[in-house]
Structure formats: C-alpha cells, structure tokens
C-alpha cells in the first residue's frame, strides 16, 4: 500500500528565534513499519514529529505523507491521516470531560452522532478507559490521562500514529499496557522516546537523530546494541541489553 509512505527529503527547520532544529533530515518509512526516533535532549525529535502533521512546516525540503506533499494547503488532509500524540497529556486533553475530548476529533470529521458515539466507545475500549467517560481530565491520574490522550487520537482512526515520549511519567503497569497497545496497532507508527527498552520492544527500525541530522538508521536490535553510537548521542544501552 503505497499511500501510507512517509518521506522526509532534506528537511530543514529553523525556529523564528534562529535556532536550527532540523538540518537536512532524510528518511523513508513504508506502510506498517514502526520506527523509533531516539537522540539526546534538544536533538530535534519533537520538532521532527511536529512536521508530521503540519504544526510546523519545513523551512526547506519536503515532507510527503501518503503521496501528498505537506504544504499550508494540504495540512488539513494530512491531519486526517496522521494522529500525533503530544508529550504532555494536559496539552492534548483540552475538553472539559473525557467523552467530549475523545469525541472532538470525530465531530470535526463531520461524522453523525451514532458514529461518533461508536468511535468514542471503541477508542476508549482499546485503552481500557470506558469508565472514565464522564470524568473531567483534572480528576485523572497521569496514566489515565495518557491513555485518554491516545484514545482521543485513535478515535479519528488515523493511518499513521506519531507519539512524542509516550511512556514519560507512566508507572510500570501503564507503561506495559501502552506497549501492548502499540504492538497491536497495525499501521505505521513513529515513536520519539528516551525509553530505549520500549523502542526495542515495539519498533523494528530505529533512527538516531543528532543535532538535527540523521546519524544512524537501521534495525533496532543493531542500533540499540551499538554502545559507541549511543554514547556519542548522550544515550546508553537499553537496560535489557546491559547485562551479559
């Protein structure tokens, strides 16, 4: 299926204050691949994810998603395909109740009422959050917030999922639930994280970013066991590979 290919070609991005966040990123992700994006703090991971659905547009270079090149005009269309889950669930959950929040995306897709309710039910079911429906987000625990944030994005049934540091602030059980969910999600996914064990478990491919460039790109098992490469990028071997 060629229509879910993600392609970054020489993407540069400079913030208005002059910071060069991306300096010629180039990669291609085919349908169904799950790819981990790793790198030091400030290496450009979050900036890269924000290019995925046009929150930020490249200063030069092109981002192509499903055969559509990302521009100001095609943003809306691309946002239907790519679901981005941001780092802080408080930014993601902006509606006053969980139900309203999960329904926000589907309602904006102009679905009818029955369909919206069904989507909300299914999305919350996937993250085991059905009993949270009527709660306001500020009464949720950190783990519940991040589950609901995921539900609010998958309710739009995106073809591609992009997650920024999804396991940050999660307890072990919530993290495990997240990993199981990510493994079950069959479409393409991009995960930016410092949790290398999670990347190792969920992603077959891994891209290392350093100073806004792709430093390494290959199978997760290979990259994440390369001690020198990781240490050069302020990372260390995943815990599961440290013994032996």
């Amino acid at each position: 299926m060629s229509h879910h290919i993600i392609e970054f070609e020489d993407v540069f991005f400079r913030y208005p204050d002059g910071t060069e966040a991306l300096r010629g990123i180039r990669f291609r992700i085919i349908h169904g691949e799950s790819v981990g994006i790793v790198g030091a703090n400030g290496s450009g991971k979050s900036t890269l994810l924000q290019q995925m659905n046009g929150c930020l547009l490249p200063t030069s270079g092109t981002v192509t998603i499903g055969g559509i090149s990302l521009t100001r005009k095609t943003r809306q269309e691309i946002r239907r395909k790519v679901g981005v889950i941001f780092q802080n669930p408080d930014d993601q959950l902006f509606m006053p109740t969980v139900f309203d929040d999960v329904a926000f995306g589907p309602l904006n897709l102009d679905l009818d009422e029955a369909c919206v309710r069904e989507r909300v039910r299914r999305a919350l079911g996937t993250v085991n959050g059905l009993d949270l429906q009527d709660k306001p987000p500020h009464h949720l625990s950190g783990g519940q917030k991040s589950s609901v944030a995921i539900a609010s994005v998958i309710a739009m049934e995106p073809d591609i999922l992009a997650l920024d540091e999804p396991a940050a602030n999660l307890d072990s059980k919530s993290r495990r639930a997240l990993i199981l969910f990510l493994k079950a999600f069959k479409h393409s996914k991009l995960i930016a994280s410092h949790d290398l064990d999670l990347i190792l478990e969920v992603c077959e491919r891994c891209i290392v970013i350093g100073e806004g460039r792709v430093v390494a790109d290959g199978p997760s098992g290979e990259i994440l066991s390369n001690r020198t490469l990781l240490e050069e990028n302020s990372l260390e071997l995943p815990l599961s590979l440290q013994r032996g």
Partner: protein, 269 residues
C-alpha cells in the same frame, strides 16, 4: 489562607458537583433557568422588604438537603464575599434615618431595614448561585448555556477556563513551593520576586496555549467547538421546574409569613 488551601477549596467545590443525587441528576438547563428565575424574583422585591424574603431561604435549604451539600461549606463561601454586600448597604442606616417601625420601644430607621434587606437578598442570591455550581458540573452549566442560546465563542472561553484553571493553579502552586523552599524568612518572598514569578507563569501559559492550539488543529479544529447533546428533558426536570415556579409565585405574591401568623393566631384563640 495560603495558595494551596485556595486551590484545594476550588477543587472541593468542583468535586461536589460530581455527586449523584436527585438535584445533581436534573438537566442543567432546568437548573440554570430555575436559578435565574429565583434570582430575578428575589431582586424584584422592593427596597424595604424583609419579612417577605425570609421564606425564600427554603429554596437553598432544600437544595442543600437534597443535594447533600454541607451547609457550613456554603456559609463560609457566602461570608467570604459578604464584604461587598456590607459595603453597599452599611451607610443606609446613617443616610435614611426616618423611623418606620418601633419594636419593643426601640425605634427602627428605614435605613436599617433596607440594609437588612440588602443582606438577605445577597445571602439568598449568592448561596443559590453557589448551589447551582455545587450541584451541576461546570461543563453541564456551559452546555446548558450554549443550548439556551449563548454564543459559542463565549461558551468555549468558559470551557477552557474550567479546563485549565486547575492546570494553571497547579503550576502556580509548584512555582510558589519552589520559591518557598529556597527563600528563608522574608528574603526571596518580596514583591520583586513575586513579579518575576508572575512573568514566568505568563510565559509558560503562552507556550502552553500554543501547544494546546497545535493539539486542537491536529484533531481538525476549524474554529468551533462541537459537542453532542447528551440528555433530554425528563419528567423529573419538568416537575422540578414547575414546583420552583409555583414556589416562587406563591412566595412572591402571597404573604406567606403573615398567613402563617394569622393561622397560628386563629388556632390559639
């Protein structure tokens, strides 16, 4: 009171609204309308009315009893804002000295009566408004206002206010705690540091607003916040509204206290 206790106090009012009692289950629209009618009825009483106002306390009292809201909690809140009402009426006894009644030999001036009337009206309106918030979830009130015809932009603002007041207060709490941990005695807690804290909070808020806006765009935001109607008006809602209207009409146009007094006199004889 420190910042923390204020924060938990707002949180408490909010938690009350998620109880599950008869009053809480009523349709928010009905409660908003009933509260409005109550407010207008109370305000419509003339300046020197005191006796006629007293029976109206039955309404908040019933709401408190059925809604299982603690009387002390509401009283504390009413006292907290009472200085405003007191300031408005406190000079009445001095300005309006005409004697209109003599009770057990003590002359009562018109100013005292109107001051008392202001205080009663204040206590009635504020406690009932608080009870609306304590028995109805804030989103419920917002959706009710929207469906009663308030502009969507205004309702969206209210919804965001409610959603982020807690996040903002928590952030402010973290910042003040961080300051308190590193300031000893008066050093570090002065006005100049405070001004900087507010600045930090402002910058953080602007950043957050931007991230929230991105999150909204990512989910197809096109300028309007859509919502699904959740409840219809049920028989219980109509009964409640009818009862309230009847209650208000009777107490407004018929001197209930006088009637009870007459009845008691009749029985004594």
């Amino acid at each position: 009171m420190t910042f923390d206790t204020h924060y938990f106090d707002i949180g408490r009012l909010d938690r009350l609204s998620y109880k599950n009692t008869f009053v809480h289950r009523l349709d928010p629209r009905v409660k908003v309308i009933a509260t409005m009618l109550f407010l207008f009825t109370v305000i419509s009483f003339p300046k020197y009315e005191v006796v006629g106002l007293v029976p109206f306390f039955l309404f908040p009292a019933l709401l408190m009893a059925i809604g299982e809201i603690s009387v002390r909690f509401i009283l504390r809140k009413v006292l907290l804002v009472s200085p405003f009402a007191i300031l408005i009426g406190v000079f009445n006894p001095l300005l309006d000295t005409q004697t209109i009644a003599v009770i057990s030999g003590i002359p009562i001036s018109a100013g005292v009566v109107s001051f008392l009337s202001i205080l009663l009206k204040f206590a009635l309106t504020v406690s009932t408004a608080l009870l609306l918030i304590a028995t109805t979830s804030f989103p419920g009130v917002c959706h009710a206002l929207r469906r009663l015809g308030l502009p969507s932009l205004f309702v969206s603002q209210l919804l965001f206010l409610y959603r982020y007041i807690f996040v903002l207060m928590e952030e402010a709490m973290r910042i003040t705690r961080a300051r308190d941990m590193r300031s000893f005695g008066t050093r570090g807690s002065g006005i100049r540091v405070f001004v900087r804290l507010i600045g930090t909070l402002f910058v953080k808020t602007v950043d957050r607003a931007e991230r929230i806006y991105y999150a909204m765009l990512s989910r197809g935001f096109k300028g309007d916040i859509p919502s699904l109607g959740r409840t219809g008006i049920k028989a219980a809602d109509l009964t409640y509204l009818t009862a309230t209207v009847a209650f208000l009409a009777v107490f407004r146009f018929y001197r209930v206290t006088e009637g009870i007094g007459r009845l008691a006199q009749g029985l004594m004889q």
